[in-house]
Every structure is written in structure tokens, then in C-alpha cells.
């Protein structure tokens, strides 16, 4: 609420000035939505951003900088390293310093765009930052989330790929990063890239009209579609491949494009060499982008949740990436399932799946590393499902009819014509080819369809995916102190019961992370000048213990003033520690977890 009040008082002041002076367009732009906002349904947004377009890298970073300038108290936008081509990898930190330093709070890490062509995750990142800031102080849930958690947002972890995607013709793979690779083994790197011969921004197909002598024909229902002729028949067209030139004169066309590796196979869990996992590069973290992100995550052990946005297909993915890795321990799978299944409820047409069984096998993927190697609960959403083009049950039913204009194989022509007004499809046109002579060129799609939603549906995608990620952020572990009791046993020996609670879905340490020893154990410390711990035990249920006192777990550790809890505190559980303490005065019991924060309580022995 603080923010709102500040804004309103500022508005009153500036309103008076405005009546008398011409302070210019800047103030007007800032104030007028606020003035109307009081009556309109819209909240008085401080920063106007568009979510119906796609941002190139400078554009994207500029919007983040506008946010940072508008919300300097919470936001920091800084570089964590450079891409191969020298672009900054920018991270936005959202932290309320008044509720504690970053490291004392669980953090949610959000990234996007590791594949250069999978762009819309960056817009989700931008939307998330914008939404959290604009609604801080307005919506209680958002305010609480921002106060309790830290967010690290890297809108593009492959800025080279993103910029390449934005700048180059449609039809060129921009998935890879840009470290040069010799794809064809001729000792030259990236020497034969695609060529847009007619300069229209699309790498199109080339066909030649050869009436009655070809092996392709036009689809009767959809004249834009070319299809191979059935056996025994002839068609009117032959296909001559795609636009392109043999730039290096080796007899092959476009055989050595940029990069051609996969930035999402260069991570250190189940990394496999290139011949097992295509695109893996020579060793983990060889890519400067992967190394910078890993260094960042290593330096921020408070990160408890990861979301890596990809496209497309409508999936909420979790690891493992390969069957041989074995499924997650049951207790880990349990909270993943709960989060993922709720995700399906806020993301219609998205399915919660395991990567290897639901998508395909991935070795050395990012979220396998963050789960197995860094102990972070990690999801990867595949943004946008083609099913969202025709969402009503009635239209779904129509699609079952193969002669319907929205049957699956032709539906996107229909959609492009009637909803996007022909923005994305490039029809065939006559063209004089330098090598093939008179041909037709076309039959290709522009890049902002298929894997990305149409622009008018983009904001919904942003909001729903953000909602799932904020839900994940909210369910990260959080250690809280429960009730305490002190009982005198005899002499100066006391029995002290302390309850610790983790009310969230996620544990402070995942079972897999505990097995791999990749997260520092939780530390249960007891401080007290005049106190000696004789014994300590865990009790699962205090009520049960009162009736059956034998149900304890004696903590078999040498130093009972500093107890290691290696597998942490499970989600939505309360655990009681029972100390037998000899001494007097005040003792302080502290539960310190890396990913779930800290809690402490001071108790008097009496």
C-alpha cells in the first residue's frame, strides 16, 4: 500500500502544478493514466509496456532498464557475463532490501531463450517483473511474495541467438548459439550460411512448373499446399529445395551455418559427448553463456526454484532428461507432481511431463544440472501449444473432419487468412533464379507463428506462465519456528521441545540433492553460555510422543550444539527436536537452511 499512497500524494501535488503550467509531455504521460485510473478499472501503471510484440535484444534490455528506473528500490539490472559475440547476459534482481538481504531468502531463478528461436519466454520474463512491481502494494499476494522471496530473471541466456533470430530471414535455424563450429568437416567454420536470394526476409522453397512431368501437385482443399503425388500418378511440379547458394564452392548448399550446437546440452549432469548427445560441445560449460549462468547460480545458493522457458508444445517439463538417470526419489517426485499438476490447471493445453518420457531424451540439459547438481527444484515450460489456435470444444470437433478448412494439416492457413490477415504465410510467386532460371518461389512461413503465439494472444501466455512460476516461487521452502516447551527433568537438567515448520510444498533439501551432497545440510544450532546438550532427538509427532515416548530418533552426532540435518525439512511438515540440556539461563535455537531461510528462538531454562 505504501507505493499507492506515495503515488497518490505525488499525484495531488503534480495535479496542482499541471493545472497552472505546461510541464510537458513527460509529466502528462506519467500522470494522465493515474488521473483516469481512479475511476477506470486499470491500476495506475507506472511503466507502460507492450506485450503484443516481440523484442529484439536492445529493445528488451531497454524495457528492463525502464522498469529499473521506475522501481529502483527493488530492482537491479546488471550483467553477469558476455555472450560469445560480446552481448551482455543481463540479470534482473528483484529484492526488497527491507525484508532482508538476498541470501537470507529463498530465490526463484527465471530464464528464457537458451534456444535463440524460442523467444517468447523473454516476454514472459519482462511481464513477470513488470507485474510484480506494478502490483506490489496493490495485491496482497504479490506484496507478500516480493517481500518473502528474491527473483533473479535472465530474459535471454542466448542474446546472440535471439538477435540473430530477429535480424535474419525466416526459415533459418536460430536455435544455436554463435560459437563457430565446423559442421561439414572441411576445416572452415560457418562458411556456407543461408542466402535470401530475393531479399524478402524469408528463406522460401523453390518449385518449377513442369506440367504432367512432376512429382508434386497442389492440394485440392488448400491451394497453398504442395503434396507429393501418389504412386503411379504424375504432378505438375518439381521441388528444387530452398533458397540458397554454394558460398564456399564445395558442391553443397548452405551446409555450414552459424553454430549448430545446443546451449541446452552443455550442462554438467549426465553430460554426454557429441555423438551420443548432438550439440553437446566438447565439455560442460565450454560455452561462455552456460559458464556465466552456472557461475551465477553457484554464487547464489539461495536459489531454490528454477524455471527455464522454451517453446513450444504446451508442456511443463521436469527431469530427468534421460531414462538411464532413473526417476527422481519418491519424495521429490511427490512435490514435483503437486506443483506440475496445479500448473496444468493454470495453463490450459499444457501437460506436465517428464522430459525423457514425455518429450525426448536430453543429456546434459540445464534443468537436469540445476536439479541434480545444484539441488534446485526446476521446471522448463514449453510455451504455446498449437491447440490454442482453435480452443472451443466445437472447433475441436470440427477438426476431426478431414475436409474441414480447419482440419489439422490445413488449419494454420485458415487461421492466417482469417485471424492474422495473411501476415505470416508467403504464397508462391514467379522468380528468375540465377541457376535454375524461371521458377516459383514461396510456400513458406514467416517466423512469428507456429512456435510463438499470434501477437494478440501473447499477453495471456505471459500471464498464465508467470502465474505458474509465481506459484512455484511461493511454494519454495520456508523455515518457521513453532511452539516451544521447557520441562525440568531434575537438578539443572531440562527437556526442551522446539517445533520447526516448513509450511510450503518444497523441502529445504531435495532427496536427490541430499544423496548427491550438493546442498549444504541444514544446521540446527543451540547457543547458550551455560548450557550443555546431553542428548538430542527428533520426534515426528509431539502428540504421539506424549503417549508413546519411545518414538524418537536419537541424533547420533558428536556435536549436538551444531546438528547437521542433511536431508533437510520436508515440505508441509513440522518436526520437533527434543533436547536434554544441562545448565541455566537463556538458550537460542537456530535452524539455518540454505534454501529455506533461517528461524530462531530464545528460550529460558526454568
Amino acid at each position: 500500500m505504501k507505493t499507492i499512497r506515495e503515488t497518490r500524494s505525488k499525484m495531488k501535488r503534480t495535479g496542482t502544478i499541471l493545472a497552472l503550467t505546461m510541464l510537458g509531455a513527460i509529466l502528462l504521460a506519467l500522470v494522465s493514466p493515474v488521473a483516469f485510473g481512479q475511476k477506470a478499472s486499470d491500476p495506475p501503471f507506472k511503466v507502460k509496456l507492450d506485450f503484443n510484440r516481440w523484442h529484439d535484444v536492445p529493445d528488451l534490455y531497454a524495457d528492463f532498464q525502464r522498469l529499473q528506473a521506475a522501481f529502483p528500490r527493488f530492482l537491479e539490472f546488471k550483467s553477469i557475463g558476455k555472450s560469445y559475440e560480446g552481448r551482455d547476459l543481463m540479470v534482473l534482481t528483484i529484492n526488497n532490501p527491507e525484508t532482508g538481504p538476498e541470501m537470507s531468502k529463498a530465490a526463484m531463478y527465471i530464464e528464457a531463450n537458451v534456444h535463440g528461436n524460442e523467444i517468447q519466454g523473454a516476454e514472459v520474463c519482462l511481464y513477470t517483473a513488470w507485474y510484480l512491481m506494478e502490483n506490489y502494494g496493490r495485491l496482497d499476494d504479490v506484496t507478500r511474495l516480493v517481500n518473502e522471496r528474491v527473483f533473479y530473471i535472465i530474459p535471454t541466456v542466448n542474446p546472440d541467438g535471439r538477435q540473430y533470430f530477429m535480424e535474419t530471414p525466416s526459415g533459418v535455424s536460430a536455435r544455436s548459439g554463435h560459437v563457430p563450429v565446423d559442421d561439414d568437416g572441411d576445416w572452415l567454420v560457418d562458411e556456407d550460411k543461408p542466402d535470401d536470394l530475393n531479399g524478402n526476409g524469408i528463406i522460401e522453397q523453390i518449385r518449377k512448373y513442369v506440367p504432367g512431368k512432376g512429382n508434386y501437385r497442389i492440394n485440392r482443399a488448400s491451394p497453398n499446399m504442395l503434396e507429393p503425388v501418389p504412386f503411379g500418378e504424375t504432378g505438375d511440379y518439381i521441388l528444387l529445395g530452398r533458397e540458397g547458394l554454394d558460398n564456399d564452392g564445395d558442391g553443397f548448399v548452405d551446409e555450414d551455418n552459424f553454430g549448430e550446437y545446443d546451449g541446452n546440452r552443455n550442462w554438467a549432469a549426465d553430460w554426454q559427448p557429441n555423438y551420443i548427445q548432438r550439440g553437446a560441445m566438447d565439455y560442460p560449460f565450454q560455452l561462455p553463456e552456460a559458464k556465466a549462468v552456472n557461475d551465477f547460480l553457484t554464487a547464489h545458493p539461495n536459489v531454490a526454484g528454477v524455471q527455464s522457458y522454451h517453446n513450444s508444445g504446451g508442456m511443463i517439463l521436469r527431469g530427468p532428461g534421460a531414462e538411464a538417470a532413473g526417476d527422481y526419489p519418491m519424495s521429490d517426485a511427490r512435490f514435483y507432481d503437486e506443483l506440475g499438476q496445479n500448473g496444468e490447471r493454470v495453463l490450459p493445453f499444457y501437460r506436465y511431463l517428464v522430459i525423457w518420457s514425455g518429450l525426448y531424451t536430453v543429456h546434459g540439459g540445464f534443468i537436469d544440472w540445476t536439479n541434480d547438481g545444484l539441488g534446485i527444484i526446476s521446471f522448463s515450460n514449453e510455451l504455446w501449444s498449437g491447440e490454442q489456435y482453435f480452443t472451443s470444444p466445437n472447433l475441436k470437433e470440427q477438426q476431426q473432419n478431414p475436409s474441414s478448412p480447419i482440419a489439422p494439416n490445413v488449419s494454420r492457413y485458415f487461421f492466417d487468412k482469417y485471424l492474422e490477415f495473411g501476415q505470416e504465410y508467403q504464397p508462391w510467386k514467379k522468380f528468375t533464379h540465377p541457376q535454375f532460371g524461371e521458377v516459383e518461389i514461396g510456400g513458406a512461413w514467416r517466423k512469428f507463428q507456429g512456435r510463438v503465439p499470434p501477437r494478440f494472444m501473447s499477453e495471456e501466455l505471459c500471464h498464465r506462465n508467470m502465474a505458474f512460476t509465481l506459484y512455484q516461487a511461493d511454494e519454495m521452502p520456508m523455515i518457521k519456528m513453532g511452539e516451544t516447551n521447557v520441562e525440568k527433568v531434575g537438578g539443572d537438567v531440562y527437556r526442551v521441545f522446539v517445533n520447526f515448520t516448513n509450511p510450503k510444498v518444497a523441502p529445504t533439501i531435495m532427496a536427490r540433492a541430499a544423496q548427491n551432497n550438493v546442498v549444504r545440510p541444514d544446521l540446527l544450532t543451540l547457543e547458550g553460555k551455560n548450557a550443555e546438550v546431553i542428548a538430542a532427538s527428533f520426534i515426528d509427532n509431539k502428540e504421539l510422543y506424549k503417549i508413546k515416548p519411545s518414538v524418537t530418533q536419537l541424533i547420533d552426532q558428536k556435536d549436538l550444539k551444531r546438528i547437521l540435518v542433511r536431508n533437510g525439512q520436508a515440505g508441509r511438515t513440522t518436526r520437533t527436536v527434543m533436547y536434554l540440556v544441562k545448565g541455566s539461563g537463556a538458550i537460542t535455537v537456530i535452524y539455518d537452511s540454505v534454501k529455506g531461510g533461517q528461524a530462531s528462538k530464545t528460550i529460558n531454562l526454568q
Binding site: 560442460p284 499438476q341 532427496a511 551432497n517 558428536k558
Partner: protein
């Protein structure tokens, strides 16, 4: 330094002697030399050596360690002609393990001999004129420093701080030289319930008591030291670090303390990887390290068995559970006594609470029904390709012949070792040898680990691991046998019941302990302690410190003794010259094996009308194939490119302008044949170019007439 060089006679003065290289090299150190020793000052030694041979030696730092030390690479080649970076090359790298100094000394000797004997020795001249030899003598300079420290710990790792027991405190509990003799050895403590006993056949040694033979243990074994962090373990978190020969990608031991946080996590390994992928001309690799595939070649594709010290394994075993302290039961209450020491998974299994289908298990068949094509999950092989084994065997035979070494003293399993990367991922013949050993192969019977593999049942039947051939590893989910693993936990006795048949989770949860138990000797055969002691006695090596009483502040009366650090992994410095000489011969042999592509035939036939037929044959006249069989399947080596230097549209028929040969076998036995019909003008000159990653380049021209 000057004295170091004095070991090598000046070439001008000694040319006649050196003409027969073998004679000169086996002659050993001449009178008047410095006392042989291990070199702390590697940088100045190398700089002086390179400085004295500027024309053929180039010294380059490929990276700096955490301790600020340079990792040096010495390039040795006569730079005239084809640039050294484009010639087939041999990489010699050593001292990955901080306690394996002898490797760096042999590598240094090899460098010295090569530089001193060029161009006088014809073999040396032939190799340095036509190929390149890279020598990286000390990959782990921070680790090697331990050898020169006042207290010798035998540290193998580099200097990266590491919380080995993951207790939130880094490097807080290393061993300590309690008796002040300058060596970290082990302590044996009389204790009821101890697992170890004095070996009745060799009272200097300890063995694990075998209850099946009615033996009762009476001792516990610890590293020399005190429990500095009062956690119940002694010396469980020493200074450092990462074992660099466990830090590479092939068969990487994930999440093991010495293996580093992840593959290639270290500055040293990163520097070496960056270097080698920029040097694809490296056609063979020789490493000196604590694993071996030269003295004993891979049999049936598998590495030889490891031979490690029991005393060390026993001392380590006591600390294995330090990594699991605080693994407590989570979740709902279960019956008393159940799951006290287990992870949360076990309790679910036990209570039957969760025979529950997870969502992804439901989704999986649906995904398959949906007809989504799924590539079969490929796995990288872990054994040498059968088609390549003969090359390893041939080289091994030559190695044994030239060095006379028939049995390594001490070898370790090569998980994550660099030389394994060299073959399995870089795709070249790649070797490792400790560089010294026994001149006679002594049968150790069941002492050799591979013969009684881990996982073997009580009857000694080889378990699944025997097939895997990787002794000392315990794979999860290996059948339903029940093993009881008893491990001492620093004054605490903890009994783990492992039920391997329960599916992977339990097994995985206790993989650490199981591995540790394997090291403790319970499920593995005894080590090589007795053989090493015999060798030390025979060679008069002062390598074993006799047990002596000591009053320990916490444990009371103990005895301290055992193998001296470095004494098992390094021979006496007096042996270096001889080892350097024999390994130089081996290096020259290795550098003679490289593939060499050659255009064997290039013919033209004029068909008239401006049409010419060109026929070409390409062969490999070297010994090795242009790519090993595994390199072909792993696509690790670029195929040999054969390219006709004409415009693509000039080719009417026949082969493409650019062609690739996956591999050409050596000794001229394999030929690539090509044929083109081209349109050209009479009198035109057409060139054919052949480029091989490991076998050089050849070009031929023909005039069309």
C-alpha cells in the same frame, strides 16, 4: 638448472656416442652430475630448457592454477616446413595426481633428451622434422607442491577448497603430523569391535578380520591426526581439492568428493581441455599417471584391475560416513527402530505408503501410444572397441620391451581420467602408465581386484560388476542380493542394511557408503601392500614407517606407522634418468606411428569434346589408421577430406567435388578410390587435395591433355 642440463651431454661433443640412441640413453647418469632429485622449480627448469633450444622449443603457459602457478606446455618441433600445429602430434602430459611427481620428471627427461639430441640423432630428427611433440609435464603444480612441503601428506588433489564431508565447513579437518616425523601416515588403535587385525604373515601390515575364518578384529585405523572439528571423524576434510585425473568427462564419477563439483570444474582441467580442442593435430596421447593401460593392455576392451593400498583404504573407510552424518528420517512416523538411519525414501517403501503411480508414469504410455518417435537411448561405450584393441596391444608390447616394466606397483581405476577422455572422446590412441614398476610380473592371485570384484557373493561368484570390469564401483540397482555393510564411523558403530532389490533409490541413497565399504575392503579383494613391502625391502627403499607408540590426546595410546606418502607412487630419484631414457625411446616409437595420407594415384583420360575422366586413389602409409574404429563411431576425428579443385558445376558425373573418407587403415592397406567426369579445357591444371586431421595433408596436380 644448469646442473639439470648437465645430465644431458652437449650434442656436438657426444654425437658419435648418441648415434646409437639406445646405447646413449640407457647409459644412465655420468659421473659429476648433481644428485638426482625431484624438481620443485618446474617453471625455471622449463624456461632454461626452452631458452637453450629456441629454434625447436616453444614454451607456453596454457593457464594458471588457483595457487597462481603456470601450467606449462612445451612444443618441440623443427618449425621449418609444415607449421607444427598442422602436423600429427604426440601429447605427453603428466602429474595430474599431485603425488605422482615421477611422471613430471620422466616427461622433463624426455623433453631434455629430444632437445639435446636434435638434429644429431636421426630418429629424433625425423620425428621433430615431421611431427610435433607437446609436453605438459605438470598439470597439477599446486598439488605437486605437497611433495616439497615440510610435512608430507601425499595430497593428490589440487588447491580448490572443498567441503569434502559437506558439513558447512571447508577444509577444516585435515590430517596432522602428530609424531613430528614429517610424514602423514596412519594410526592403529586397539579397540574392541575394531574390524582390523595385524596380518599374521606380515606383522607390519593390517588386514580386515574375516569372521568367516573365525578371525576377530582388534584394531581401528585412522589417518594420523586429531578430530579438529569434533565431529567424530579424523582427517575427513583435508586441504583441497579436486583430483584432476577424476575430473574429465569419460566415466566421470559424479558427486564423489575428489572428482570435483562437476566435470572439468577446475582451472587446470579447463586449461587442458581448451588447449587440446585447439590442437586437433594431436594424434596420440601419453600420460604419466596412477592408472595403467600400457604395462597391461586393455583385455577384452577393459582396463586392468586396480592395485591400491589397503592401509590407505582402511583409513579412508573410517571417514566415508562423514558424508552421510545427519541423513535423518523425514516425514511421517514409522514404527520404532525403523528407518533410524535411513533417508526418507526408505520409510515410504517400508510403510507401504506409496505404491503410488506418479503422474509421469501414467503419462509415459500415453506418449508412446501417441506415436511420438523416440530415439533409443544411446550409451557411450566404456570398453575399447574390439577393432582397436590390437593397436593397444602392439603398443603395450613395445612399451614393455623398451622399459622392461612388467607390473605396476600401484594403479587406480581410471574413472574421469584424462587419458580415457583421449581415447573415448578425443578419439586417438591414448595411454597411461605410472612410468615405473616391477621388472617381473608377479602373480598376485586373488589380490588383484578385478578377480574378486565388488558385488561378488560370498562364494566368490563374479557379480554384475565383473562384466562391467570396473572394480571398486558399486552401481545402483544391481539385483536383489542383500549385503550387510558394516562400517566404522569414527568411534561410532553404524550398521547399514542394504537391500539392493528394492529398486534404485535405496541403493543410490547409500551408494556413497557402498563405495566406501568397497574401499574398506569388505567387498573387494585385499590390496598390494605386501607386494610393495617386498619391493621396498628388496630395493632398499625407505618407504615404510615402523609402528611406534604415541599418546593420542583423544584416543589414548595408539601406534603410528605405515607407508610414507610418495614412497609408493614414486621411485627413488636415482631412477629418473634411466626411466627418462627408456621412455624417450618409447616416445620416439609412438611418434613414428602416426597416419600419413598420400595420393597414391592421379590419372587423366581425355574423352574428347572437353570431357575428361579423372581417377584418383588415396592411401595411408603410416602405421595407425587415420581414425580408430571408436573415433569413427564417436565422430571424434574429422573424416579425411578428398576434394577435387574444380568448380562444382564442372563435374558432370562421378564423385562429388568434396568427399569424405571415414577412416583409412594404415600401412597402405586401405585405399579410397575416386572418379570424376569433368568438363574442362585441354591444358588446364587440376589439383586434388587430401586433408586428414591426424594424418597430414597431400596435394597432387595433373595437367589435362
Amino acid at each position: 638448472m644448469r646442473r639439470f642440463l648437465a645430465r644431458f651431454p652437449r650434442p656436438a661433443a657426444t654425437l658419435p656416442v648418441l648415434l646409437v640412441l639406445g646405447l646413449a640413453l640407457t647409459a644412465g647418469p655420468a659421473a659429476g652430475q648433481e644428485t638426482p632429485r625431484y624438481h620443485a622449480e618446474m617453471t625455471s627448469v622449463l624456461q632454461t630448457l626452452a631458452g637453450a633450444h629456441k629454434t625447436i622449443a616453444r614454451l607456453e603457459s596454457i593457464g594458471k592454477t588457483r595457487g597462481g602457478r603456470d601450467i606449462w606446455a612445451l612444443e618441440i618441433a623443427n618449425p621449418a616446413g609444415v607449421p607444427p600445429a598442422k602436423r600429427p602430434a604426440l601429447l605427453v602430459a603428466a602429474n595430474f595426481e599431485g603425488d605422482h611427481l615421477v611422471g613430471s620428471e620422466i616427461a622433463l627427461s624426455v623433453a631434455g633428451f629430444l632437445l639435446e639430441n636434435y638434429p644429431g640423432d636421426p630418429d629424433v630428427k625425423q620425428r621433430l622434422d615431421n611431427s610435433t611433440i607437446y609436453i605438459i609435464p605438470r598439470v597439477n603444480p599446486d598439488g605437486a607442491e605437497g611433495y616439497f612441503a615440510p610435512i608430507k601428506t601425499g595430497r593428490r588433489t589440487n588447491a580448490t577448497p572443498r567441503d569434502d564431508d559437506n558439513d558447512g565447513r571447508v577444509d577444516e579437518d585435515g590430517p596432522e603430523d602428530l609424531n613430528g616425523d614429517g610424514f602423514i601416515t596412519v594410526m592403529r588403535v586397539k579397540a574392541a569391535g575394531g574390524e582390523y587385525m595385524i596380518d599374521p604373515d606380515e606383522p607390519r601390515l593390517m588386514k580386515k578380520a574375516d569372521p568367516k575364518k573365525g578371525e576377530t578384529g582388534a584394531y581401528k585405523i585412522f589417518w594420523e591426526g586429531i578430530d579438529r572439528d569434533k565431529d567424530g571423524f579424523i582427517g575427513e576434510d583435508p586441504i583441497g581439492g579436486t583430483d584432476l585425473n577424476r575430473n574429465f568427462m569419460h566415466d566421470y564419477p559424479y558427486y564423489k568428493p575428489d572428482a570435483g563439483r562437476y566435470m572439468v570444474s577446475e582451472k587446470e582441467s579447463q586449461a587442458l581441455m581448451a588447449w587440446i580442442i585447439a590442437h586437433r593435430n594431436v594424434a596420440a596421447i601419453l600420460t604419466f599417471g596412477e592408472s595403467d593401460n600400457l604395462i597391461a593392455p586393455p583385455a577384452g576392451g577393459r582396463m586392468g584391475s586396480s592395485r591400491e593400498l589397503d592401509l590407505v583404504r582402511f583409513a579412508d573407510a573410517g571417514n566415508a560416513l562423514a558424508q552421510t552424518v545427519g541423513m535423518i528420517q523425514a516425514g511421517d512416523g514409522v514404527g520404532p527402530g525403523f528407518g533410524r538411519f535411513t533417508g526418507g525414501e526408505f520409510s515410504f517403501e517400508m510403510t507401504g505408503d506409496f505404491p503410488r503411480q506418479t503422474r509421469q508414469q501414467q503419462a509415459q504410455p500415453a506418449a508412446q501410444e501417441g506415436g511420438r518417435f523416440r530415439m533409443p537411448d544411446r550409451k557411450a561405450p566404456t570398453t575399447v572397441n574390439t577393432a582397436d584393441i590390437e593397436y593397444f596391444r602392439t603398443v603395450s608390447e613395445k612399451y614393455v620391451e623398451l622399459t622392461g616394466i612388467r607390473q605396476p606397483l600401484y594403479v587406480r581405476e581410471p574413472q574421469g581420467a584424462f587419458f580415457q577422455y583421449g581415447y573415448f572422446q578425443f578419439g586417438v590412441p591414448s595411454f597411461s602408465t605410472p612410468g615405473f614398476g616391477l621388472a617381473t610380473a608377479e602373480s598376485t592371485g586373488q589380490r588383484r581386484m578385478g578377480m574378486t570384484p565388488p558385488g561378488a557373493g560370498a562364494g566368490g561368484e563374479p557379480g554384475p560388476q565383473a562384466q562391467a570390469g570396473q572394480a571398486g564401483r558399486q552401481e545402483p540397482r544391481t539385483g536383489g542380493t542383500t549385503a550387510t555393510v558394516v562400517v566404522s564411523g569414527g568411534g561410532q558403530e553404524i550398521i547399514q542394511i542394504m537391500q539392493g532389490g528394492r529398486g534404485g533409490e535405496m541403493a543410490r541413497a547409500f551408494q556413497g557408503q557402498a563405495g566406501a565399504a568397497a574401499e574398506s575392503g569388505l567387498v573387494t579383494a585385499p590390496g598390494v601392500d605386501r607386494q610393495i613391502l617386498r619391493w621396498m625391502d628388496a630395493e632398499k627403499v625407505d618407504g615404510f614407517i615402523k609402528w611406534a607408540k604415541f599418546n593420542h590426546p583423544d584416543l589414548g595410546e595408539v601406534e603410528i606407522g605405515g607407508f610414507k606418502p610418495y614412497a609408493v607412487t614414486n621411485p627413488s630419484a636415482a631412477k629418473i634418468a634411466e626411466l627418462g631414457a627408456s621412455h624417450t625411446k618409447f616416445v620416439l616409437y609412438l611418434a613414428s606411428l602416426f597416419p600419413k595420407v598420400k595420393i597414391a594415384k592421379l590419372e587423366v583420360l581425355n574423352h574428347g569434346g572437353g570431357i575428361f575422366r579423372i581417377k584418383a586413389e588415396v592411401e595411408n602409409i603410416g602405421f595407425l589408421p587415420t581414425a580408430l574404429a571408436h573415433a569413427v563411431s564417436a565422430r571424434a576425428v574429422r573424416p579425411t577430406m578428398v576434394q577435387l579443385q574444380v568448380k562444382p558445376e564442372a563435374i558432370l558425373s562421378g564423385n562429388a567435388k568434396t568427399n569424405y573418407i571415414q577412416t583409412l587403415s594404415g600401412s597402405g592397406s586401405g585405399r579410397g578410390k575416386f572418379e570424376w567426369l569433368i568438363r574442362a579445357g585441354a591444358g588446364d591444371v587440376v589439383a586434388l587435395k587430401v586433408v586428414s586431421e591426424k594424418g597430414g595433408t597431400d596435394t597432387a596436380k595433373v595437367t589435362l591433355k
